[in-house]
Amino acid sequence: MDQFLAFTVVGLSTAAIYAVIGSGLVLTHTTAGVFNFAHGAAGMLAAFAYWQLAVGWRWPVPLALAAVLLVLAPAFGLLVERVLMRPVQALGEAERLVMTVALLTGCIALARWVWDPNTARPLTPFFADRPALRLGPAAVTWHQAVTTAVAVAVAAGLWFLLHRTRAGTEMRACVDDRALAGLTGADPLRAGRLAWVLGIQLAAVGGILIAPAVALDAQQLSLLIVSAYTAAVFGRLRSLPFTFLGAVVVGLLEAYLAGYLPQNDYLPGLRLAAPALLLLLALLAFPHRRLRGRDRRLVPVPLPGRRGALILAAAIPGLALVLVTVLAEDSLVPYGTVFALGVVALSYVPLAGFAGQVSLCQMSIAGIGAVVWGHLGAHGEPWALPAAVLVAAAVGALVAVPALRLSGIYLALGTTAFAVILDRWIFTLPAFDVLGVRIALFDQGSVTVTGPDLFGLHLTSPAQLLLLAAVCLGLASLGVVALRRGRFGRRLIALRDSEAAYATLGGRLLGAKVAVFALSAGIAGLGGALYGMQLQTVTADQFNLVAGLPLFLIAVIAGLGSVGAGLFTGVAFVVPTQLLGELGTWAQDLSALLIALAGMGLAHSPSGVITRLRAEWAPPARDRLLLGAAGVVLAGCWLLAALDAVNGWLLLAVALVAATAPRIRAAARRQGTVETPPEWWGVRRPWRPEDGEVLSRATAAG
């Protein structure tokens, strides 16, 4: 009984933290219309900042607290609102989601960059020097008491703000009816700003309170938030009282699982994954109203031409050939992942780009592909590769089942929960038997992966595997182009635009959704297997949720509807990291930060960089002479590099200049022609033979 009470006290004090963080999440979601995936990351940054002030620079605790909660947190909230969220306000729900994912990635990268992750940073609990309070048979530490008191104060303060002040009433009015609130003098922008400030402050309070209990680790702290997500989902992302209730359920569940779960090899992971499991169940159990309004601006899904597709499919192995001949042996392995990760990124195109289903667990599914190949294809058996693809596809079909009930951010949350369950539990399991079949995953460590036997050749060298991955990416890209041009691709887009119309035309929703999830999971599984071959040994960490997020981000930046997103993502993910990596280890986190920053630029080209590049490159591509000249210079560079004749950096610079010169020239030429108005023809620019006809036609029409 005493033990039970002790667990209850622990559970309730954790619940208090989840409640504080969860209520901040609900506040920003309802008032500003944004589900903030980076909410936990903001709390994490606050915890690090507090450590820096209070421990690093030895500021007095009250001063450090005031600086973080009253200055830094509100400033961060305002910055996020102004710089990140307002530009995408007019775009769809998916774009707002991507912004917060970018922010999450950015926060983690920033924390790792500023605070070296290899240094331990202990934070002492509040009032650690005082003896614990006795409440009957239970002992309550001062930190736990403070935590609970803070949660109660937050609850009371929020109630007072929302129900007893004009500003709070305005916030609720904006949730109810934004347009009407605007007519009655409320400023929805001001309400949104207030929500961001308060939301980040609450995240900061939660982060500082929870940090002493766990290690001060950027990734771990950011993901602790899954428990707070669960609490918020209990409140259907809109009710504060139910969020508090949900927090109590999650907190107690975690504490009791920690206390009473039997100790064996299979169950400790379940305890860690419990909040995610509960999140998945809560998502499926409660009906969810989407926020009102459809996407205001439909971003078209480009229709790739046959010629462009063939060029792309040929360019991929071509690039691989260049890499194989130019690179030194030891950099082939990291550069080889360009194509393998490209395949994983390509899996987003049919699923998110065509069908509009935002799934954040593609990297986890790639992990499944990698381990299945690792185990079944341990001696390079060629049949094991299709088997890995099929197993991954089956897992994808499993994910599709909740996806039938969830959409938009709820699907993103559901797939996040799925990824976390895999990370914390399934991937940590030792080998086990199901129905007589022995299933082995990461064997609680790492799995050795080898290359396949193909046509009597055992592919093992990095160069061979790189070429194999490139051929696979080329073929998969062609396959996705065929999909987009064909019946199934049309159906996926139709389904996304109007499920009601699709159904009344005789289309089956279930079949199409399961098929697209399975298909894209199969592609991801293939990518995972190829990735594993490059790395030779794989661990679960390489396929976790946070590892997959930058890939998703770059794919979004590239344009999820463009088939070229696969290659683009692979290149943009690997190459800058490698180049910067040569400058020093500190640059690694910088490149992650750069990806996040690029994601934040999404508002400027919502249909993706590839669409923009295509538009910019179309004119120079028609100029055969210029293109030919650039091609010759590039080929020359390749030859020199392959012979190791000249310094690599210099050649890279020359190659870049040669590659971009046609575009710059074409852009300059366009500028020259468009701007001159007709009355200045012959004056500011030479008279052309066709001008006379143009003018006479224009005057006749007028």
């Binding site: 004009r166 949730v175 009407l180 609130a181 009655t184």
Partner: protein, 234 residues
């Protein structure tokens, strides 16, 4: 003299013209009913009059002065109040909080509540209830009370009767008549004509963006409406 006047107002959405030169005027203390079948452009007339939708041609006059192109917020401060279709209330806010939102007018919460409860006693009895739990008629009263809190000179009402029982509609229009008697110019858009015609001083029928008939509501109007709504005569 007319307080609100639309002179040759034209309006378009995405290049498609929905109002082809509408002339309409409302004097202080007058109730004008704007009738017509669905899709005639009635709501657009109110949007132009409240400044929400800028006209593509013609002029909007307020007390004889040109008010074309003035922003809705400034028009509201100048005394034009729109009660939009579908009950302009916040369903998840209590009656009190709904009224509290009107303090932007500069009046205090107490003043607003007092005058609202005096005019609509039922709201006083329900002051802590969420507006969404009120009956349709009570919600419409709350919307009216919120509109009146701005102390308007011109009141624009859109489809007050939507989804309400005939008796409730009749009672609401009695209140509207009372408001007009205090000197407010009232422009009412309605699809269901009977109830509003009992209190209207003047009626206009809008069909496909044009005023087809305008005058004192009498028996000849009934035949007109029949032809416009059901297309019998042409």
């Amino acid at each position: 003299m007319s307080l609100l006047e639309l002179a040759g107002v034209r309006a378009a959405y995405n290049g498609i013209t929905v109002l082809h030169g509408v002339d309409l005027s409302v004097a202080a203390g007058q109730v004008v009913a704007l009738l017509g079948p669905n899709g005639a452009g009635k709501t657009t007339v109110l949007k132009v009059a409240s400044g929400v939708h800028p006209p593509s041609g013609g002029r909007l006059l307020l007390g004889g002065r040109d008010a074309t192109g003035i922003r809705p917020g400034d028009l509201a401060r100048a005394g034009v109040c729109l009660v939009p279709e579908g009950r302009g209330v916040f369903p998840n806010l209590s009656v009190r909080d709904n009224l509290l939102m009107m303090t932007f007018t500069g009046r205090t919460r107490e003043e607003i509540e007092e005058s609202a409860y005096a005019r609509f006693p039922v709201l006083g009895r329900r002051r802590t209830q969420h507006a969404g739990t009120l009956s349709g008629g009570e919600q419409q009263m709350l919307a009216l009370a919120r509109g009146l809190a701005t102390d308007p000179a011109v009141l624009l009402l859109d489809e007050l009767s939507m989804g309400l029982a005939p008796l409730v509609v009749a009672e609401l229009y009695e209140r509207v008549a009372g408001i007009a008697r205090q000197g407010v110019a009232v422009l009412v858009v309605e699809q269901f004509a009977t109830a509003v015609l009992k209190i209207a001083d003047h009626a206009a029928v809008l069909v496909r963006g044009r005023v087809q008939w305008q005058g004192h509501p009498d028996s000849s109007l009934h035949a007109e409406l029949s032809s416009y709504y059901l297309g019998s005569a042409t």
